[in-house]
Amino acid sequence: MSAVSKPVAAPAAHHEHRDDEGSKTGMWLFLFTEVLLFGGLFIIYAVYRHRFGAEFHEAAHELNKVMGVTNTFVLLTSSLTMVLSVGALHRNQVAASLRWLWATFGLACCFLVIKFFEWSAKHHHGIWPGGEHLHSLPSGEGLFFNLYFMMTGLHGIHVVIGMAVMAVVAARISSGRITADRFGALEYTGLYWHLVDLVWIFLLPLFYLTN
């Protein structure tokens, strides 16, 4: 089989080639690292739950189930709006895509607001990392709350990062840098966002539905 004859002059800077499947592979690999990052915390949770089952149960009473479940619905819906945004851009419906993307952003905001109220309430009751009250609780309860703050906190940081990325991506869609022919950035943002959702749906039963 003969090679195609193609004398090419030297490219100016670096030779770019587009490989969507490669980019997607890279993104999935990054998601694996996130899974393992949270995975470490899940291992810690599992160990201490095994050890302090009753105290975990007891401590979980303090958490606001309504807020937790509401946040779950919020995030699940935001996953929907995100995937609709990607689908819209795929169909070259730029305006619709942007609307869905901003809807996702808005729902993420909503999530953070609810989280803020949750955490404020905890703080008000003295349940706060490094706090006196936390220290005075039985070990298992202290560990439960430390895990709660650590895991929902790390998750919250990921929500904020996701929102920042969404904003950047929205700007690039508006400016035409991300298009129906080339929307990897939006798609991978979506993958990231779904992972954020995935982590949360595991956090829900572990913390909010434990009692």
Binding site: S2, A3, V4, S5, K6, P7, V8, A9, A10, P11, A12, A13, H14, H15, D19, E21, G22, T25, G26, L29, F30, F32, T33, E34, L36, L37, F38, G39, G40, L41, I43, I44, V47, Y48, R51, F52, P129, G130, H135, P138, S139, G140, G142, L143, N146, L147, F149, M150
Partner: protein, 551 residues
């Protein structure tokens, strides 16, 4: 000529600047995998030199009983820093960052990695982490004295710069992860036409398995180290016994990464050996598929043995025997490699060259390391040797005698390709000899000391341990001399070496089909692959034809 590209990016040298940027800026903004490999090499070996000097200091203190040069507290910081630099700044980025950047795209017939800009970012992230680690020397409480393992609860309480050092390790972990992501994608996506997975050079297989460990295992230590920082700064206590936490859980999480990471260290070195042996045996590797798959097997089994670092910490008896059993399993794929390497040499047409000597040195030293690993893996004997000098000897035989010597082998094998220059063979042989003698003089006594009962991480010791310590310190001077000569020889070759041919060793993999040094985009004519990577028939035919042609 079909498919041939013109222009300096295809026909010049990657070492030359052709674009608008020149000099240092051209390097600092490069996305060329070869230049990035060189940049890693320069900084990593600089850090290596610092860590070697720290090692020499340790040996100097241990030469005689009593404390002559440092206090015990300073000694603790010295071995901590020695370990942190050697592990996080040198051997973990290791061969992947240097030769793993330079060679695989050439091996695959590609013009770069999948994510060249990310590759450069990895380097910068590495630099940030390295600077953070070195900053811990100079600020606040000074270098951590916890050992490179940062065990709870001491690491949670020490007044030294644990948080800074640990965050540095976190940042370095990021660099490692990004490199891993890049390599996996590159190997999946950028193989030349005709190069199936099982026609890929074994160096790439080693790097592929390594990259998977980097991606999957590193985040676990990332979160663990983050929790140490959280506990020190915010009082979020997961490992604090006073709050019901289990310090052993820290060890579990730490070793869940840190055991697989030793395979990150060794798999690329094994890949290098798998490249060198066929070349200098003049024949194909024995059992290609077995070696390739054994790399993946080692990576996988490497995840399930970590608690063999914890046999004496009080873990359950059940955990102990299970992990001991699993530990023995990992020797199997390793053994497969060693046997296949030997079979490759057997009845081969062997040419003694410096890279081959280092590769053989690897096999010898790593085998000793591996055998001592069996002593550690067996519960009954581990009780006696854990936390003794025996362990120190064991891991230096594997990490230094294995990964380190493998690194030197890679340097000597690919140096002519990288720089287009040959090094002085005689000096290289002397250096090799000194290193081999020095290495065993330095580390074998540690095995003896450990069995005699000498603890590790102790600055002082009882008189009965004196003689082996003395011998070991002398060994450190011998190996230092050898390494100094080796680096002098290599560095001198860059400017003053004879021009090297494209294929000085008679290698069959694709990097030898392009110029020494390669052009920026690697191949003037993009390769199409029709055989396995170690097929010597073409070379043999050419040699036969040359013999015929001679009158």
């Amino acid at each position: 000529m079909s498919g041939t590209n013109t222009g300096p990016a295809y026909t010049g040298s990657y070492l030359q600047d052709y674009g608008s940027r020149r000099g240092l800026m051209a390097w600092l903004t490069t996305t060329d995998h070869k230049r990035i490999g060189i940049m890693y090499m320069v900084v990593m070996f600089s850090f290596f030199a610092i860590a070697v000097l720290l090692g020499l200091l340790l040996r100097l203190e241990l030469m005689n009983p009593g404390l002559q040069f440092v206090t015990a507290r300073v000694y603790n910081s010295v071995f901590t820093l020695h370990g942190v630099i050697m592990i996080f700044l040198f051997i973990v980025p290791g061969i992947p960052a240097v030769m793993g950047n330079f060679i695989p795209p050439l091996h695959l017939g590609a013009d770069d990695v999948s994510f060249p800009k990310l590759n450069l970012a990895s380097w910068y992230i590495y630099m940030v982490g390295a600077l953070m680690a070195l900053t811990s020397l100079f600020v606040g409480g000074g270098v951590p004295d916890t050992g490179w393992t940062f065990y709870a609860p001491y690491a949670l309480r020490s007044n030294t710069n644990v948080s800074l050092a640990v965050l540095a390790a976190f940042v370095l972990g990021f660099s490692s992860i990004l490199t891993g992501m890049n390599f996996i994608t590159t190997i999946h996506r950028l193989r030349a036409p005709g190069m199936s997975f099982f026609r890929m050079p074994l160096f790439c297989w080693g790097l592929y398995a390594t990259a998977w460990i980097q991606v999957i295992a590193t985040p676990v230590v990332g979160i663990t180290l983050l929790l140490v920082v959280m506990e020190r700064s915010l009082g979020i206590g997961f490992f604090d016994p006073a709050r019901g936490g289990d310090p052993i859980l820290y060890q579990h999480l730490f070793w869940i990464y840190s055991h697989p990471v030793v395979y990150v260290m060794i798999l690329p070195a094994m890949g290098v050996v798998s490249e060198i042996l066929p070349t200098f045996s003049g024949r194909t590797i024995f059992g290609y598929r077995a070696i390739a798959l054994s790399s993946m097997a080692i990576a996988l089994v490497g995840y399930v043995v970590w608690a063999h670092h914890m046999f004496t910490t009080g873990i359950s008896d059940t955990a102990r025997w299970i992990f001991s059993l699993l530990t023995f399993l990992v020797a199997i794929p390793t053994g497969i490699k060693v046997f296949n390497w030997m079979a490759t040499l057997y009845k081969g047409s062997i040419r003694i060259e410096v890279p081959l000597l280092y590769a053989l040195g690897f096999v010898f030293l790593f085998s000793i390391g591996g055998l001592t690993g069996l002593v550690n893996g067996a519960l009954a004997t581990d009780i006696h040797v854990h936390d003794t000098a025996f362990i120190v000897g064991h891991f230096h035989y594997t990490m230094f005698g294995g990964a380190g010597i493998g690194f030197f082998a890679a340097l000597h094998y690919w140096w002519p390709k990288v720089w287009g220059r040959s090094y002085n063979k005689k000096r290289a042989l002397w250096a090799w000899g000194l290193i081999m003698v020095g290495f065993n003089t330095l580390y074998f006594p540690m095995l003896v000391l450990g069995i005699m009962g000498m603890p590790r991480r102790y600055a002082d010791y009882l008189p009965q341990f004196h003689t082996p310590h003395l011998i070991s310190t002398i060994g450190s001077w011998i190996i230092f001399t050898g390494m100094a000569l080796m680096f002098f020889n290599l560095i001198r070759a860059i400017r003053h070496g004879e021009k090297a041919p494209d294929n000085p060793w008679g290698g069959t993999t694709l990097e030898w089909q392009t110029t020494s040094p390669p052009p920026q985009l690697n191949f003037a004519t993009p390769p199409v692959v029709t055989t396995g990577p170690y097929d010597h028939t073409a070379l043999r035919a050419a040699a036969a034809a040359a013999r015929e042609a001679r009158p």
